[in-house]
């Protein structure tokens, strides 16, 4: 069947199997920053933004996102032009093996887009769908804090790095 979506800002018409999950569809497009760690909705390494909201792409039928705006980790930035959250994760030492990192960053992006200054409790809640086996999470929480400051500074300079979205 046909699927019409915008992926990282680009309108796409895709031919998909009606039962395919979004994560597999994205990976087949070469967007392999979206990882499949458990296929049961627990590890969160497959997290992508659907209309600005993080969702587990391993549980999401691709057919359900018809017309949606999808943002994957590749849509945030690249090595030459990284997103401040991506920089923050590296600075904080929040990246170890890096398999969970794209998902963590996607969840962080959604959180900070909506709540520029979240409490630690909110950070915990917003990331509770992302597992990391390497870091013990302390440095991931640091990264969110660093990202918060980077983004606040950037928007203070009038250079908004945040993409507005409608729920």
């Amino acid at each position: 069947m046909k699927l019409h979506v915008r992926i990282n800002g680009e309108a796409r018409e895709l031919e998909i199997a009606p039962g395919a999950v979004l994560g597999d569809v994205l990976r087949q497009l070469g967007l392999t920053g979206t990882k499949m760690g458990c296929r049961e909705g627990h590890c969160g390494s497959c997290m992508v933004l659907v209309n600005g909201k993080p969702m587990n792409s391993c549980l999401l039928l691709a057919a359900k996102v018809e017309g949606a705006e999808i943002t994957t980790i590749e849509g945030l930035g690249d090595v030459r032009n990284p997103h401040p959250i991506q920089e923050a994760f590296v600075e904080a030492g929040a990246v170890q093996c890096g398999f969970c990192t794209p998902g963590m960053i996607i969840s962080t992006k959604a959180l900070l887009d909506n709540e520029p200054h979240p409490s630690l409790e909110r950070v915990r809640e917003a990331l509770s769908g992302n597992l990391c086996r390497c870091t013990g999470y302390a440095k991931i929480f640091d990264a969110v804090r660093i990202a918060e400051h980077k983004l606040a500074k950037a928007s203070g300079n009038g250079k908004s790095t945040r993409r507005p979205h409608r729920p």
């Binding site: 069947m1 199997a17 009606p18 039962g19 395919a20 999950v21 049961e40 909705g41 969160g44 997290m47 909201k53 993080p54 969702m55 587990n56 391993c58 549980l59 999401l60 039928l61 057919a63 359900k64 018809e66 969840s107 915990r124 809640e125 917003a126 509770s128 769908g129």
Partner: protein, 285 residues
């Protein structure tokens, strides 16, 4: 691999969806959030009818009741100002303990209560709040009380081609409530759910509800505990005794995650704590 979906349809109206579901009912599957469809991996070949655009997504309230559309997600309820009006914010507080935030965006009201997995969060809440469940087929509609709906696995009472369209919850300003969940991690499946609620009549409990779930095969009202609490004031002794009664009368399931005996001992404590919490007399952190 998820189910083999041969055809994926996105009807624009409830009428159209019901009509599609009425055709050759055996081959259709209604898609709400789609989570259980992906996870079940049922080997059968099905035609998927997506309910996303049939107008069941709304959460609305009148002065008497709150109405949750079947396609509203748990996350929608958490962020709905209308939903916070019920029993001093019971719904958002309790639903925040269900799954993780992203998964709560995929879990719908209809999916959660129709599947009624034993760990589901919404069913015990609906029981404690005297909710009504509204169902439709292409031919007729009916309304069931939560107690009727959850008296058996809901799938069993649903007719072929029948859908839950919405759930209504009466708004009673003086209803107090509290929720307790026991699990290993913040988004783990519950080992035990306890919901208590009552109408506060000058410090005395009226029309109390004591609902236990996750440790039972179906969410269950504990009538013995409710009868005991009627007309009483919440204090530590009353709460302890209610806990005792509940743990005595509930038929508990044990499994590899926790024995029935352990759940019985903890259920007593959780009922007690929930009652004290509902009355703002919580003594423990």
């Amino acid at each position: 691999m998820p189910v083999t979906i041969t055809e994926y349809l996105r009807p624009d109206s409830l009428k159209e969806a019901l009509a599609l579901l009425a055709e050759d009912p055996g081959k259709n599957i209604a898609v709400a959030g789609g989570v259980s469809i992906v996870l079940s991996g049922a080997p059968r070949r099905v035609r998927a009818i997506d309910l996303q655009n049939v107008g069941l997504n709304e959460i609305a309230s009148t002065k008497d009741e709150l109405c949750l559309g079947a396609m509203a997600t748990l996350d929608d309820i958490i962020h709905s100002p209308a939903a916070t009006k019920v029993a001093s914010g019971l719904l958002p507080t309790a639903l925040r303990t269900a799954a993780s935030e992203p998964i709560r965006r995929l879990i719908t009201v209809g999916g959660n209560i129709v599947q009624c997995y034993y760990w589901a969060t919404l069913p015990p809440l609906l029981l404690a709040l005297d909710a009504k469940i509204h169902l439709r087929t292409s031919e007729h509609r009916r309304t069931l009380k939560a107690t009727e709906f959850f008296a058996q696995p809901p799938m069993r009472l649903m007719e072929k081609g029948e859908l839950v369209t919405d759930v209504t919850i009466p708004l009673k300003p003086s209803r107090r409530a509290a929720f307790e969940k026991m699990a290993k991690t913040s988004n783990d499946y519950a080992l035990i759910h306890v919901v208590v609620s009552y109408v506060d009549q000058r410090g005395k409990m009226s029309d109390p509800r004591v609902v236990v779930a996750a440790c039972t095969s179906l969410p269950t009202r504990v009538r013995e505990a409710e009868e005991f609490l009627e007309g009483k004031t919440v204090d530590l002794n009353t709460a302890m005794e209610a806990g005792q009664i509940a743990s005595h009368h509930v038929k508990l399931r044990g499994d590899f995650r926790a024995s029935a005996d352990y759940r019985r001992r903890v259920l007593r404590v959780m009922v007690q704590r929930a009652l004290l919490k509902a009355a703002d007399k919580q003594t423990i952190s």
